[in-house]
Symmetry: C2
Subunit: 457 residues, 2 copies
Amino acid sequence: MRKIYWLLICLICVVHASAQQNDSLMIRKIYTEALSHGKCYSWLDYLSNKIGGRLSGSAKSYQAVNFVEMELKMLQVDSVYLQKVMVPHWIRGNKEQGWIIVNERKSQVKICALGGSIATPSEGLSAEVIEVYDWVEMEKLGKENIKGKIVFMNHPMKPEFINTFEAYGEASKYRYGTASKAAALGAVGLVVRSLTLALDDYPHTGVMGYVDSLPKIPACAISTIGAEQLSSALKKGLKSYFGFSMSPKILPDTLSYNVIGEIKGTEFPNEVVLVGGHLDAWELGDGAQDDGAGVVQAMEVLRIMKALNIQPKRTIRCVAFMNEENGGKGGAKYAEESKTDKRKTIAAIESDAGGYSPRGFTFKGNEEQIKRSIGWKDLFAPYLLHVWKAGYGGADINHLHDQGTLLIGLSPDSQRYFDVHHAATDTFDKVNKRELELGAASMAALAWLISEYGVAP
Amino acid sequence: MRKIYWLLICLICVVHASAQQNDSLMIRKIYTEALSHGKCYSWLDYLSNKIGGRLSGSAKSYQAVNFVEMELKMLQVDSVYLQKVMVPHWIRGNKEQGWIIVNERKSQVKICALGGSIATPSEGLSAEVIEVYDWVEMEKLGKENIKGKIVFMNHPMKPEFINTFEAYGEASKYRYGTASKAAALGAVGLVVRSLTLALDDYPHTGVMGYVDSLPKIPACAISTIGAEQLSSALKKGLKSYFGFSMSPKILPDTLSYNVIGEIKGTEFPNEVVLVGGHLDAWELGDGAQDDGAGVVQAMEVLRIMKALNIQPKRTIRCVAFMNEENGGKGGAKYAEESKTDKRKTIAAIESDAGGYSPRGFTFKGNEEQIKRSIGWKDLFAPYLLHVWKAGYGGADINHLHDQGTLLIGLSPDSQRYFDVHHAATDTFDKVNKRELELGAASMAALAWLISEYGVAP
């Protein structure tokens, strides 16, 4: 009896080791395919250089939808379709102008409208400017100091964070939420220091919101060099005026699409492993890193499966979400339709942190799911993926959280992301081919593992 | 008695934990200092944009020596001095020309002389060209096929390696060692595919060597696009000629310098922890990543120590080595003089893999040294340094190996390095400020730990 017991133990060990070895081999194949014949880089070239910035509702956003749909069809995956979604339609209008007047000397500064802002009067808006570091300071200054002025929120991202997303998280609420708070204190306009760790002359846009019950004031971002210039004048105690002119418009919501392509699972077709990124992008740049990279990486996952003739046990679905930047309607729509679909999205991997060298994944789910996922870490050590922990999934897939989906965020190296994020500098030349391909391979390998083994319940 | 025993154990644990905590705090300070007030980026700006490519013996190499010496002196470290070293002096001459003639149609291709190559005749050298993948194939073709021709060594770096240095290691012997082997078979010239994973139109230079007993033939590198063009013509069976014209010269060896600055240890001044990079650089580009980055990072280590008022127990010494690229004389000289110096270099950290996001360190030393070093790994986890293993130190410090020095290589992300390596594209704009600073901080933190604890015997 004891002998049989030991034999069984040995057999289990052998089977387990051999499964692990097979997994290793398959993952090696996936990376080699991505690095040797990857197509994501040339797709991104097209998306960035032939289409460019593609905010929801814009002509370019529809060109991007067509492009992704067509390319997915050319992969001859099992199905490709569009999911309708109504999206906000904000347009920037004419190129913005910004200026500073210090001691009656006027100089131009680089600004851009924040996404969702109203326009200034057509002749522009100019007023005395008052600098604040945060909301506490602004409240302390109060109505008596702020009424009639333009608030200058000069809250730099903190360089000491190693992961720049933490620095962004700390600072971005001031971009999103200051306008109405300032308006409540009587401010007539808002200028926000651009959210970047670089000192340069490019303004970085991004979404802001208004509180409906309060007056709406126009809000713009100023380049970090402009912010330093303005702050320096104010710190010298010089009476300073800030002026800006911009003409954005909020048009009626409009119909757009998530683009979806999938390879049907052979054993559990109704269990879906999603890979995705968002197709919309701010229009100052070309949306190469944010988030053209994520979209082409998700597309590449399907290409790799086809190229290697992998027939996944569970369905692998690529989703190019619309409208992450200024509304999140695409992600919300996907989750809403998922609720009544017999096909359940058991796991979703989002790439929305740029196409840089992948460092690992972060997981949002129940304890058992996270534990099992972390168990795969060693398989990825040869590819230098070492971050493997509980954390954020992604803005688009986050809507699936209450459906029990395991949410997974690809975590690339974060150092360069905010240099170009939401700025004119987010262009194709900022993307390295191999880094992009390694990210795609990492997503493909993890998606394949989940398609083989499922997720813990 | 037992009580006392337990009390002692507890005390040891508390002391150990508190030491670890102090180390953590100091490392945090070092990183914050580098990221908040780092000077390495502006130093590199100067070294790249005001000086530029600085091959041993060139005017620029002396400007670079002066610059580093002056900047180190401005840090007010304990001593700054030059170490004399005789170096080879190779000059490129006029801009090289390369051309292909296929079916009597001539087209220009981008080439550059390999470092150390002799010139072509002044009117250029043109001959039928024969493509080989490696030395096995070349030997197999033999004299009967090669005599009188130009050998085209088309050995691409393999994309499937995750660490691109492994791909470089596999392919670079064909750049260094093919000329004489081809000459032995009667070849009249050599053109080598550039060592890069990128497909672009920049030739990448690098050192080559001749075997003294064999005829010397001129050797150049062709851009990867040019290589593909030539290979494609040859694969179609079209009779193809390659031609090139270049005028490099080998001048007599000349006097140059390693630049050294140090902060004297308070307890063990004769035990030296070296941080370094190499100051010379190929002159097609500005030597920003190779290895201006390493030099300014090593300088930054001293700046951080001074800024934080750290008085290291052991001496911390910054060395900007001369002549890594085409001779390695600076590293050899340093090691030679070390032998008779009462001050022993107990550990040496070299940065010569670009100023990209640091991923960890590799260690070359005895087992005990490596084990103790790896014991520090967890202290660096917050900074995302995860590669911490036995491996290569660096070309300049390698000469110290037989003196029992623990050799340490900073290991940054390798994906982008060979895009610019030894090419005109190795310019300042390829360097990210934060990535550079993180590398410097990593070196500073490790150098500080070694200065506190020494290395295992």
